[in-house]
C-alpha cells in the first residue's frame, strides 16, 4: 500500500484535534521522582494483601494434579467438617450457580471457560474446588481433605500433533483442537515472491514464558446481603469499561458491583483482566456473606494465573533483491494457547500491527493456527505477541544479511522506512503516525562505538574468545485499539462495530485552587500512572506535580476507562487530562474576563493564571478565580455554574475500520515508536554461558514525559528480554506436567545477571496525540531477544550456529555447537 495522509474520512473515534507540542514545557520531559515514591518506598503503599476487613475469611483453591481428566466426583465432606472451614464450593457446584467467565475467543460456547473446572480438568493447576476458612492455614489444611475421583484421559501436549488430532480433544464441543485458523494476504505476495532475487526461509521456535510480578493477583470480595451490593477490592481488573463482565459471571446487577483498584507490585500484562481471582473472592463472599480474601501464592500464579505468554512455532519467508531490498514477507505460525483462549488470537492481531517492522515491505501473508492443548491458558505478557513477531522478523533479516554477505547494519539501513513516508501504512493496514529511524540507528551505533567494538571483537576473537555483536532495529506499536481482538471475526451477519477503548478523568480545582485528578482504572502496575497524571495536570496549571492529588475511583459510577495495557495509558491520560484542563481553563477565562471587565481575547494564560496581555499586575491566579467560582456567584458571568470541575473522556486518537474483505485491517495501533539495541556478548563454548559485555538501547517514543520512569521501563523490559532470550522457559513433560514450579527452576535474571543498559533517546513527536507522546511500556522486551540472538550467532559464526529457538539456554547452545561439529 502506498503512503497516504492521515485519513480523516472514516475515523471511528472522536478524539479531539491533535495538540501540537507546546514550546515551553515545564514538566513534560523533565525527570521527576515518582509522586508514588513517598508511600511505596516507605512500605506505606497498602497492597491488596495488606488489606484486612473485619470478619474476613481466606480462600484457597484445590488444583488439578492431572493435565487431562474427567471429574467423576468431588467429595468435600471431610473438608467441610475441618476446623475453621466456613464453606467449600466444588467445580460442579460453581457451574450450577455462576456463569462462565468472559471469553473473547471465537465460539466461546464451544470452549466454555469457568472459574473452576466443572466436567473435566484441562491442565495441571486448573481449579477444582475452593475452600474458605477463618485462616489461610486452616483452608490449606482442609484442602488436602477433598477427595476428587478422576478418570484420566490422554494428555494433549504437542500442539503440532494436537492440530491434526481429532480423537483426543481438549474441548469436545469444538470438534477440533484448532480453535482458530486464518490466512490473511495483504498486497501482491505471490507476485513479489515470484519476482524476488532471493527467498530466505527460517523455522523458529519461541518458547513459553511468563511475567512474574512480585505481587500476585489477588482480590477481596465483600458482599452486603442487605443491599445486594458487592465490593471487590482488587489489584487486577478494575477498569470501568469491562467491569460488567465480572457482574455477569457473578450474577450481580452491574450497578451493584464496585471493583475498587489497589496498587499492584507489577503486572507486565499479567493483570490485564484476571477474572478468576475477582470472581473467586466475590463468589465466596456471596456464599458466606462475609469478606473473602483470595491471594494467589506463587504456585497458584505460575500454574493458574493469566499471564503465560506466546508459545509459537514459526515458518518465516522473506523475499528480497540481491542488493538487500526487501519485497515481501510470509509468516506461518502455530501458537499453543493452552486449554482456553480468553483473548482469541488478539496477540496475533497485535503482531499484525507492526508485522513488517520498521522496514519497507510492500506485501505480507500471515497465517495463524491457534491450537488448544492441556496446558495453562495464555494471558498477556508484555509485548502481547509483537514480542515474538519482532524476534521472528529480526531473525529472518539477520539470516538474509548472512546469506547475502551483508553487514547486519547495512541491510537494515537500506530498508528502513524513510522519514518523508510518514504517516505510513503497512501492508496489513495499520498506520505508523511518525518516525525518523536512521537517527536512532546512528545514535545507537555511535553510543555503542560500533566500529570500535568490531575492532575489539576481532582482537578478542584472535585470542580464541567467542565474542559477538548483535543489533536490532525494531518498532513498538502503542496505544492499542481493540480491533486487534475482533477483526478476525468477519461473519457477514454480524454487524461490524468497534470500541475506541476510551479513558476518562475528572479534574477538580477546589476553593483555594488545589487540584485533584480522578482516574477510573487500575492505579499502579509499575507504570507510575499517578506521576504521569500529576505531571500532565502540573503542566496545564503550572503547579508542582507533588501538589496534585490523584484519586482512584472504583468502577461503580465511573467514567469509561480501560487502564494500562498495549502501552496506552500515558497517551490516553494525556488526552484526557488535556481535555479536562481545557474545559476548566475555558471557564477560568470566562470568569477572569468577567471579573476584570476585559475582553477574553485580551487575556493570556501565564504562570498559573490569566493576565491582561502586556500588563503583568492585572492578573487573576487560579486560586483567585476558584474562590469566585465556589463562593461568589455574583462575580460569575450570567448563566455560569458554580464550582470548578470537569470530566473528559478521551477516545482513541486514530482508529479506522477494517475493510469488509479484510484486505486491510484498518488502523488500530497508530502511535509507533522505534528503537535500536546493540549488544556485545561472549559465549563460553564449554558451558554455553552467555556473558553480556556491553548493552546500548536508543529509543524514540515521541515526546518523553518523564525520562526517569521511561528509562525504568526500558531497563525492566530489557531485563525481561534477557530472560526471554537466555533463561526463562515454562516446560512441560510428555504427560503435560509443568516442569517448572518455583524460581529455582524458572530462571528470571537477577540484578546480577542483567547488564547495565546505556540509554539514548530520540524524540519524534506523534502528530495525533496530546504533546506528541507515544507509548513506551513494552520497550526493551520487544528488542532484547532479537539483539541477543544475533550476538550469539555472531559469537559462534565459525561454528555455523544460529539461534532458532528461545530461550538459548546454555545447554541448548552446547547442543547446537555439538550438532554443528558432527
Amino acid at each position: 500500500m502506498t503512503q497516504t495522509d492521515i485519513p480523516t474520512d472514516v475515523p471511528v473515534a472522536t478524539a479531539p484535534a491533535p495538540m501540537a507540542p507546546h514550546k515551553d514545557l515545564k514538566w513534560i520531559g523533565r525527570s521527576v521522582k515518582r509522586v508514588e515514591d513517598p508511600k511505596l518506598l516507605r512500605g506505606l503503599g497498602r497492597y491488596i494483601d495488606d488489606v484486612v476487613l473485619p470478619g474476613m475469611l481466606h480462600a484457597v483453591v484445590l488444583r488439578s494434579p492431572h493435565a487431562h481428566a474427567r471429574i467423576v466426583s468431588v467429595d468435600a465432606e471431610r473438608a467441610r467438617n475441618a476446623p475453621g472451614v466456613v464453606a467449600v464450593l466444588t467445580g460442579p457446584e460453581a457451574a450450577a450457580r455462576f456463569a462462565p467467565l468472559p471469553d473473547s475467543g471465537p465460539a466461546p460456547d464451544k470452549h466454555v471457560w469457568r472459574v473452576l473446572a466443572a466436567d473435566k480438568v484441562r491442565y495441571v493447576g486448573e481449579g477444582v474446588a475452593v475452600v474458605v476458612a477463618e485462616t489461610r492455614y486452616q483452608a490449606e489444611d482442609a484442602r488436602t481433605l477433598i477427595d476428587v475421583t478422576y478418570d484420566l484421559l490422554d494428555p494433549i501436549v504437542d500442539p503440532l500433533e494436537a492440530a491434526e488430532n481429532t480423537d483426543d480433544l481438549v474441548h469436545e464441543a469444538l470438534g477440533t483442537n484448532v480453535a482458530y485458523e486464518r490466512t490473511f494476504t495483504f498486497g501482491e505476495v505471490a507476485h513479489d515472491f515470484a519476482t524476488a532475487d532471493v527467498v530466505v526461509r527460517d523455522r523458529l521456535r519461541w518458547g513459553r514464558q511468563t511475567a512474574h510480578p512480585l505481587d500476585t493477583t489477588a482480590a477481596i470480595g465483600d458482599y452486603d446481603p442487605g443491599t445486594g451490593e458487592m465490593v471487590v477490592h482488587t489489584n487486577s481488573i478494575s477498569m470501568t469499561w469491562l467491569a460488567f463482565g465480572a457482574a455477569v459471571a457473578l450474577g450481580i446487577p452491574s450497578n451493584k458491583l464496585d471493583l475498587r483498584p489497589y496498587i499492584s507490585g507489577g503486572s507486565f500484562g499479567s493483570k490485564q483482566f484476571c477474572w478468576r481471582s475477582t470472581v473467586t473472592a466475590a463468589m465466596m463472599s456471596k456464599i458466606t456473606g462475609r469478606p473473602v480474601k483470595y491471594v494467589e501464592d506463587r504456585l497458584d500464579h505460575q500454574l493458574n494465573g493469566d499471564q503465560h505468554g506466546s508459545d509459537r512455532y514459526y515458518d518465516v519467508e522473506l523475499a528480497l533483491m540481491r542488493d538487500g531490498t526487501f519485497r515481501s514477507l510470509k509468516i506461518d505460525c502455530v501458537d499453543d494457547y493452552g486449554a482456553y483462549i480468553q483473548f482469541g488470537v488478539g496477540s496475533h492481531g497485535n503482531a499484525l500491527a507492526q508485522v513488517t517492522g520498521p522496514y519497507r515491505i510492500t506485501s505480507t501473508e500471515y497465517r495463524v493456527r491457534a491450537v488448544l492443548t492441556n496446558k495453562t491458558q495464555q494471558g498477556a505478557y508484555r509485548g502481547f505477541g509483537a514480542d515474538a513477531g519482532n524476534w521472528a522478523l529480526e531473525r529472518i533479516v539477520d539470516k538474509a544479511a548472512a546469506e547475502l554477505g551483508m553487514d547486519p547494519v547495512d541491510i537494515r539501513r537500506r530498508n528502513l522506512i524513510p522519514p518523508d513516508a510518514f504517516p505510513y501504512h503497512i501492508p496489513s493496514g495499520n498506520m505508523y503516525d511518525s518516525g525518523n529511524y536512521e537517527p536512532v540507528l546512528d545514535h545507537a551505533l555511535e553510543r555503542f562505538g560500533y566500529a570500535g567494538w568490531r575492532e575489539k571483537q576481532a582482537l578478542m576473537r584472535a585470542e580464541g574468545r567467542k565474542v559477538g555483536i548483535g543489533i536490532v532495529t525494531a518498532n513498538e506499536r502503542s496505544v492499542y485499539g481493540a480491533t486487534e481482538f475482533w477483526f478476525w471475526f468477519d461473519d457477514k451477519d454480524v454487524p461490524v462495530k468497534t470500541t475506541s477503548t476510551p479513558e476518562g478523568v475528572s479534574l477538580t480545582v477546589d476553593t483555594v485552587g488545589n487540584l485533584t485528578v480522578t482516574l477510573y482504572s487500575t492505579p499502579f502496575w509499575g507504570n507510575s500512572s499517578d506521576t504521569v497524571a500529576a505531571m500532565l495536570v502540573a503542566e496545564e496549571f503550572d503547579v508542582d506535580p507533588a501538589d496534585v492529588t490523584v484519586v482512584h475511583h472504583g468502577t461503580k459510577g465511573g467514567l469509561p476507562a480501560a487502564g494500562p495495557g498495549g502501552s496506552r495509558l500515558t497517551v490516553m491520560l494525556a488526552g484526557a487530562v488535556t481535555g479536562a484542563a481545557k474545559k476548566i481553563k475555558d471557564k477560568l477565562l470566562r470568569i477572569a474576563a468577567h471579573d476584570m471587565e476585559v475582553d477574553e481575547a485580551d487575556l493570556e494564560w501565564v504562570d498559573g493564571g490569566y493576565q491582561v496581555r502586556g500588563a503583568e499586575d492585572a492578573r487573576r491566579s487560579t486560586a483567585d478565580l476558584a474562590m469566585l467560582a465556589y463562593l461568589v456567584k455574583t462575580a460569575l458571568p450570567a448563566g455560569e455554574e458554580s464550582g470548578l470541575a470537569a470530566n473528559f473522556v478521551y477516545d482513541h486518537p486514530h482508529l479506522t475500520m477494517p475493510k469488509p474483505d479484510r484486505s486491510d485491517l484498518g488502523s488500530f495501533y497508530p502511535c509507533v515508536g522505534h528503537a535500536c539495541h546493540l549488544v556485545a556478548v561472549e559465549v563460553d563454548p564449554e558451558t554455553g554461558a552467555v556473558d553480556i559485555l556491553d548493552y546500548v538501547a536508543v529509543h524514540d517514543s515521541g515526546t518523553l514525559v518523564n525520562p526517569r520512569s521511561y528509562d525504568g521501563q526500558i531497563v525492566g523490559g530489557t531485563a525481561q528480554g534477557v530472560g526471554t532470550a537466555l533463561s526463562e522457559e515454562l516446560t512441560y513433560d510428555a504427560g503435560g506436567n509443568p516442569q517448572v514450579g518455583t524460581f529455582w527452576d524458572y530462571l528470571i535474571p537477577t540484578a546480577l545477571d542483567v547488564p547495565e543498559v546505556d540509554f539514548g533517546h530520540e524524540q519524534t513527536p506523534s502528530p495525533i496525540t496530546a504533546h506528541g507522546i507515544k507509548g513506551g511500556g513494552e520497550a526493551g522486551r520487544l528488542m532484547a531477544p532479537g539483539a541477543l540472538s544475533a550476538a550469539i550467532d555472531d559469537a559462534l559464526r565459525d561454528h555455523g550456529v544460529r539461534v532458532t529457538e528461545l530461550p538459548a539456554t546454555p545447554e541448548r547452545i552446547v547442543g547446537w555447537l555439538r550438532k554443528e561439529e558432527t
Binding site: L299, Q739, V740, W744, L747, T809, P810
Partner: protein, 274 residues
C-alpha cells in the same frame, strides 16, 4: 531439626515436609563455633555460612571451604544458612557437601546414645539421605588444615548467579618438586550425591602437571559414572517430582570443564608448574 531453615522452610512452605515436631538447633549454646583444633578446622552445628565465609582463619587454613561457601546462594541466605545444615541436607548439587568430600571432612554425630564420627565419604548415601539416624544430630564437621605446597580451588557453573550449580568441582592438591604428590577431587551435579573423581585423581597423582595431563584428568572425571536418566536428577534441589534439569551429558561435560578449571587454579595456588 531446624538449623538455618534455608532449605527446610521452603520445603515446609511447599508442604513437601510436614514434620509433627521441629527442634530448633539455634538456641543450643556453644554450637556456633568456627575454630582451629591442631591440624583441623572445626565448624559447629549452628555456625552460619557467612561466619565461615568472612573468617580470615578459614581462608588461610581451608581455602577450598571459604571459596566454595562464597558460591552458595546469596548473602542474605548465607547469613542464615549453616555449613553443617547444608552438609546434613545432602543435596547432590550443593557446594558444601562436595567440598567436604574433597577435603576428607569428618563429621561428629551425636545422639542420646552417644557420639560417633563418620568420614564424608561414608556420610552421603543418596539424594537428601545420609547415614545420620533421625535421633542424631551432626554436632560438628572437621576439615583438615591445608599443609605447605597445597593449592585448593572451587569451580562451578550455575544457570544464574547464586543458583545451585549445574556441576561443580572441588580440588585440593599438593605439589612438591614440580610433581603432584597428593590430590583429591570431588564433583557435584553428575550423580545422586557428590562423588570423588578417582580416575581424574589417578591421572594427576605423581604427574608433572602440564596442560595435556590436566586435560586428560578432566576428561577422566566422569569416566566411572553411569549416565543418568533425566528424571533421576530432577530432585536435586528440593525433593520435588519434576524440574527441567539439564540432561546428564551436558552436566557431565560441564563437570569436566570445571575440573580442568579448578585443577588449573589449584596448581597456580600451590605454586606448581603452571
Amino acid at each position: 531439626m531446624l538449623a538455618g531453615g534455608q532449605s527446610l522452610l521452603p520445603m515446609l512452605n511447599l508442604r513437601l515436609a510436614e514434620p509433627a515436631h521441629l527442634v530448633d538447633l539455634g538456641p543450643i549454646p556453644d554450637l556456633g563455633f568456627v575454630r582451629r583444633e591442631r591440624d583441623r578446622l572445626v565448624v559447629g552445628a549452628t555456625a552460619r555460612q557467612s561466619a565461615v565465609e568472612h573468617s580470615a582463619d578459614v581462608r588461610a587454613l581451608v581455602p577450598l571451604l571459604a571459596e566454595a561457601v562464597e558460591h552458595v546462594a546469596h548473602p542474605p541466605i548465607r547469613h542464615r544458612g549453616t555449613v553443617v545444615g547444608s552438609i546434613a541436607h545432602a543435596s547432590a548439587v550443593a557446594e558444601l557437601p562436595c567440598a567436604a568430600l574433597a577435603l576428607d571432612a569428618r563429621l561428629t554425630l551425636l545422639s542420646a546414645d552417644g557420639v560417633r564420627t563418620v568420614d564424608a565419604e561414608e556420610f552421603f548415601t543418596g539424594p537428601f539421605s545420609t547415614v545420620a539416624r533421625s535421633d542424631e544430630i551432626v554436632a560438628q564437621v572437621e576439615f583438615p588444615v591445608a599443609g605447605p605446597g597445597t593449592g585448593q580451588a572451587w569451580s562451578e557453573f550455575s544457570l544464574r548467579r547464586g543458583n545451585f550449580p549445574v556441576a561443580g568441582a572441588a580440588v585440593s592438591l599438593t605439589v612438591a618438586d614440580g610433581r603432584i604428590v597428593d590430590v583429591s577431587i570431588a564433583v557435584c551435579g553428575v550423580a545422586d550425591r557428590p562423588v570423588r573423581a578417582r580416575a581424574a585423581e589417578q591421572v594427576l597423582r605423581g604427574a608433572v602437571a602440564d596442560e595435556e595431563t590436566v586435560e586428560r584428568a578432566a576428561a577422566a572425571t566422569t569416566s566411572g559414572l553411569a549416565p543418568r536418566a533425566h528424571g533421576d536428577l530432577a530432585a536435586h534441589i528440593l525433593p520435588v517430582s519434576a524440574a527441567p534439569v539439564p540432561g546428564w551429558a551436558y552436566r557431565a561435560s560441564v563437570a569436566r570443564a570445571q575440573v580442568r578449571r579448578a585443577v588449573t587454579t589449584a596448581l597456580t595456588r600451590a605454586g606448581g608448574t603452571r
